[in-house]
């Protein structure tokens, strides 16, 4: 494996409009650097922008069709022969439907399979509850050996995808849909695997966010700064393994922790942080997440507002902790 140029690239965030497409673009660079890489599609060639890969590496591309269980099983078999499979799929289907294949064939057998899971959260809002992935982090996070990454913007998605070259085990990469994903990270490489990025300093309260809720967390921090409330913002892009140090520092140095994620309130980022703090450093917390229900049909933005996954909800949660 050739990784000496891991931070050297001409890639720029603006060249991809969404994290799902940044994943596909990063695959092209992976294809050059790692000749053992193979891409699998579950009828998702456009969803993850892999047509350029197919054109460039037809011999290292496998279309599986709409058969997610088979995609994971085949990827596991490929990995046993020394290849490095990247499975491109829809988050709601590749996780819930293929859970047994991911658990047994990939995680239990500890095969190096990377799952690029697009259209996560409520990014497919109008498609309805059948197409929302609001429990995928809980499912993937519960598996031993599994690495779980949630990029917040296209830049981070690109570099996080490249970082999989150095991860010797299964990876779940949670990607968005067609909703715009405003930039929150630096243009050049800023992704450090397993290390939360501190996007705003602050000692009053901490917001730990991932994915689509990182940008609202920054806005919430800026809003409260105008009131002389300093909100630390951590971008917890790696959900597993969790950056314990960053969380424990935040718990010790600020008055409380708000977690924010586009995922159901059970078992996601909030759950991960709470599990750690409950036994190591009990800390007042609020969780900004999807309530314990299925979302109605609607565009993603209004759905986020309706279910309280917004900057306003984060502001309210911070105020509650400081009250």
């Amino acid at each position: 494996m050739n990784t000496e140029t891991s931070t050297q690239t001409n890639w720029r965030a603006k060249s991809a409009s969404q994290t799902r497409l940044a994943f596909g673009q990063a695959l092209l660079e992976i294809g050059e650097r790692e000749t053992r890489s193979v891409v699998l599609s579950a009828d998702t060639q456009d969803l993850l922008g892999i047509r350029p890969w197919i054109a460039k590496y037809p011999e290292r591309f496998i279309e599986i069709g709409i058969a997610e269980q088979n995609a994971i099983g085949v990827a596991s078999g490929l990995a046993t022969t020394g290849l490095q499979p990247y499975v491109c799929a829809y988050a709601p289907f590749i996780t819930a439907r293929s859970m047994e294949q991911i658990r047994n064939d990939v995680a239990y057998a500890n095969q190096r399979v990377v799952i690029g899971a697009a259209a996560s959260g409520i990014s497919l809002g109008v498609a309805g509850g059948t197409h929302h992935a609001l429990e995928d982090l809980a499912l993937m996070r519960s598996l031993p050996n599994m690495t779980v990454i949630v990029p917040a913007d296209v830049n981070e998605a690109y570099y996080a995808t490249l970082a999989t070259l150095d991860i010797d085990g299964p990876v779940y990469m949670r990607l968005g849909g067609r909703t715009p994903e405003p930039p929150v990270t630096e243009d050049e490489a800023s992704f450090t695997f397993g290390r939360a990025a501190r996007l705003r300093p602050g000692d009053d309260v901490t917001v730990i966010a991932c994915g689509a809720l990182v940008e609202p967390a920054i806005r919430a921090s800026d809003t409260l700064r105008a009131e002389d409330i300093d909100v630390r913002v951590l971008n917890m892009h790696t959900i597993k393994p969790l950056d314990r140090d960053a969380i424990l520092h935040a718990a010790a140095e600020t008055s409380g922790i708000v977690t924010a994620e586009e995922h159901r309130c059970t078992g996601g980022l909030g759950g991960a942080v709470a599990e750690l703090l409950a036994v190591t450093h009990p800390t007042p917390m609020r969780m900004v997440a999807m309530p314990d229900e299925f979302a109605v049909v609607g565009p993603t933005g209004p759905l986020r507002e309706k279910y309280g996954m917004s900057a306003e909800a984060i502001v309210t949660a911070c105020r509650e902790l400081l009250a």
Partner: protein, 276 residues
């Protein structure tokens, strides 16, 4: 029949008998287990490991080895036995079936040398084997991948996803063997969910199919010698077998899908199987 061939068949029959004895030995060590499906698979396994497959037991990770995936992982006693007999692992493994922290539990564990995948959750092995065969194709390797499926396992829909895709990709380096003993955990498969016409199902997915007597070593060897049966298709071998083969009280009954084995039952089984 030439003398060499006669000797080959005799040797393989002997390995199969030894394999069945070792299965019962493991089951005694574990206090029980899946006698029926392990015994039905024994002749095919003997032909694969002692005749057809290209293996280096002293180098289990040899990249060019032929692959075998036991999708019907509950027959792991038979897999452990064949790996012992082939020299992948020490004979003492058979005395540690189900034991605490043993690499030899009810289902195959990739940590045991010679085991290619953790299987036993049914409906997984064909997709995995298909991935191995594609891995060979992509890397220009000429190893062959065999996967053994249970017949009742074919109720799992994931098999047919893999069967369709392997047919589409014309994976001639993939051979699926269906251990067709006609009996599942709860009774006769016809009375659970009908599989027939089984051969036609595979053919319609683009596979070359041959039905054989899975206890007739000449039939088994002829078939494996001819694999791949078609240059442009994956091969499906439907091996008609008897569940619990070789031990009268365990034959052709769902009661011996899985059952307890004590010293007395073990002794009775061995006396029927004869010396290896």
């Amino acid at each position: 029949m030439t003398e060499a061939r006669e000797a080959l068949l005799k040797r393989l029959d002997n390995e199969a008998r030894k394999l069945r004895r070792n299965v019962w030995r493991a089951l005694r060590a574990g206090g029980g287990g899946h006698a029926g499906g392990s015994a039905s698979a024994a002749d095919v396994l003997a032909a694969l490991y002692f005749h057809r497959m290209r293996l280096r037991p002293s180098e289990p990770e040899w990249p060019d080895r032929d692959r075998f995936v036991l999708s019907k992982g509950h027959a792991n006693a038979a897999l452990g036995a064949v790996l012992v007999q082939a020299g992948f692992v020490d004979d003492s493994l058979l005395d540690r079936f189900y034991h605490f922290e043993s690499p030899f539990g009810m289902h195959p564990d990739i940590k045991l040398p010679g085991v290619e995948m953790c299987t036993g959750a049914l409906g997984h092995g064909l997709a995995i084997a298909m991935g191995m065969a594609l891995g060979a194709r992509i890397q220009n390797k000429d190893f062959h991948t065999f996967v053994m499926l249970g017949d009742a396992e074919l109720h799992e829909g994931s098999n047919w996803e893999a069967a369709m895709a392997a047919g589409h990709y014309r994976l001639n380096s993939l051979t699926a063997i269906i251990d067709h003993n006609k009996i599942g955990q709860s009774g006769r498969i016809d009375e659970l969910i009908r599989l027939d016409p089984l051969g036609d199902k595979w053919r319609s997915f683009g596979w070359e199919v041959r039905e054989i007597d899975g206890h007739n070593m000449a039939d088994i060897v002829d078939t494996f010698d001819a694999v791949p049966l078609h240059e442009d298709r994956p091969t499906a071998v439907i091996a008609h077998t008897v569940k619990g083969k070789g031990v009268s009280f365990a034959e052709d009954t769902y009661l011996w899908h899985s059952n307890s084995v004590d010293d007395e039952i073990h002794a009775k089984a061995l006396s029927e199987l004869g010396d290896a």
